[in-house]
């Protein structure tokens, strides 16, 4: 089986971490990293590792449409609105790591295969990627009426984008909890902790359910844990589930793979890991189609 060509727009921290993760993929072949600052650390690193680099943003794809079939956008919500139009025009699949939420919200552990035909896939938020699979796991056996998540991230891993528009995090995550997680009603909180050494990303999920069944919930959550761990190995339960009347509390910790980010930045790692996972689903479909055509 061949590989599908992919490119990254955005040579910041997220784009660079993604570059390292893509090197391990058996289905994706990274061809180019595209930024806007030729002096950026990300572009320098990409060049060192032998990838084509461009510093003219989305124009690089316009001028070289054969660079990739799937394009990861790790720029900003504002830039993605423009990039999304161009990529659609060129018939490229866009995997959006910004909170622009142009396309359907996707968590690879829940609906990674549902949107096979979508040309623009949004990865919600880091808090969403960490918690929505678990809400879905509880919902599928117990029917979640209300889900609330609390994401605590280290101050060092909260980038300027997150800080300047923290409301986008809470609002987009809430949408994800409801639309992808399946809760009737959702709520998301984000807390930033400046402690040194930096704290690992922590996520607490509270679910109120219609049909309480501790055994079924525990099993479903553990099954889901394995699914998420297949692409985020440092994703784990911090404590056993806590049951209280119609409420279940799930305490999670996310340790990153330490590719470009330090391990405490599980919040950034889970986004890039989810992006690779979703792109691989797309690649699998595309390669399958190609095989059928050649047969």
């Amino acid at each position: 089986m061949g590989k599908i060509n992919v490119a990254i727009i955005g040579s910041g921290n997220i784009g660079t971490d993604l570059m390292y993760k893509l090197e391990r993929s058996e289905l994706l072949n990274l061809t180019a990293v595209i930024g806007i600052d030729p002096e950026s650390d990300g572009l320098k690193k990409a060049k060192e590792r032998g990838y084509q680099t461009f510093s003219n943003g989305i124009d690089a794809i316009k001028n070289n449409p054969d660079l990739a079939d799937i394009v990861f956008d790790a720029t900003s919500a504002k830039a993605h609105l423009v990039n999304a139009e161009v990529l659609k025009e060129l018939d490229k699949i866009a995997i959006d790591l910004t909170p622009a939420a142009v396309g359907p919200l996707v968590s690879p552990a829940v609906n990674g295969d549902t949107y096979n035909s979508a040309s623009n896939i949004n990865l919600i938020t880091c808090g969403g990627q960490a918690t929505i699979p678990m809400i879905h796991a509880v919902n599928r056996v117990a029917d979640v009426t209300y889900a609330e998540i609390v994401a605590t991230i280290s101050s060092k891993s909260a980038g300027p984008g997150t800080r300047a528009n923290i409301d986008e995090f809470t609002i987009t995550t809430r949408r994800g909890i409801e639309e992808v997680g399946g809760a009737d009603k959702g709520k998301a909180l984000i807390l930033i902790n400046p402690a040194e050494p930096p704290v690992l990303m922590r996520d607490t999920i509270y679910c109120e359910v219609k049909n309480m069944d501790a055994e079924a919930i525990t099993k479903s959550v553990n099954d889901m844990l394995q699914v998420v761990q297949s692409y985020v190995p440092g994703y784990r339960l911090k404590q056993e589930l806590i049951f209280d009347e119609d409420k279940v509390t799930i305490l999670l910790e996310v340790e990153g793979a330490g590719d470009y980010f330090p391990v405490y930045a599980g919040n950034l790692d889970i986004m890039t890991a989810a992006a690779v996972k979703v792109a691989e689903e797309q690649a699998r479909r595309m390669l399958h189609v190609e095989e059928e055509v050649t047969n």
């Binding site: 300047a164 400046p194 509270y206 109120e208 305490l251």
Partner: protein, 334 residues
Amino acid sequence: MTNVVKLTEVSLRDGSHAVSHQFTAEEVGSVVRALDEAGMHYIEVSHGDGLGGSTLQYGKSLVDEMKLIERAVAEAQTSKIAVLLIPGIGTVHELKQAHEIGAKLVRVATHVTEADVSAQHIAKAKELGMESLGFLMMAHTAPVEKLVEQAKLMESYGAEAVYITDSAGALLPEQVRERVRALRQALTCEVGFHAHNNLSLAVANTLIAIEEGATRIDSSVCGLGAGAGNTQTEVLTAVLDLMGQNPGIDVYKMMDLAENVVTPIMKRPQIVDKGSLALGYSGVYSSFLIHSERAAKRFGLDPRDILVELGKRKVVGGQEDMILDVASELAKMK
């Protein structure tokens, strides 16, 4: 010259913690009416954790805070109704809603080192025509230079005052003096101070803040607030009156309303007991107290052990989920 102090009454916001967010519209109405008659300048009404704080993490409100704000606005003749907003918990949507129903002032609160998350909210409030102030929580955890740097950020976003918020009631008198003095020197906007009485220093620290030039002061009738509560309004106003600095509050009316209106709605005495003393002693966010007492009961622990451990782990305001985590770990170690 002595600047005139503007008081913000926080019993209906910080006090929400002390009643586990169970205020009724009638209670809010009667407290606001009495405070308004006594001449209070601002009255803050919100969930204890600010707009949007009604959650499983912090405790659900008995009555939707917007209904409580609406009621407060209806009862206030001269007092202005204020709200608290903690970015990451509440959003500009709740802020707009509160503004539409009559809130005139917002304090946008962040952890003392994370002021940059408040930029959009401070700006939005100003755009709406509200008074927009910054609130730097857990101020005892940062060195003075850091506090100054973060306060300047809030000022640059348009904050008309920046508060030194002693969320853990852990600041010592000289630390308050040093901090207020540094902010007065570095800022052109007003400086505010919010105390908790966990070390029984709330009134004393507040007087030092005023002496150093803080002009925005928080207090609470009966001290009603998280932990051992806040600076007690009726005490503070009586003392300011004796000092010849009464900012226009009727001291007798304030005493009466404390006894007749607020005391009957209190669910627990507002005292420095071993739990609240442990908050100030270990520098832990005051609203953790009741949650830690509950977790201690559930896991068979001493709440002080939970609080001290939380202090060691440098938890910030809002991390109530850490209480369950720490308690279950301590229980396993027993």
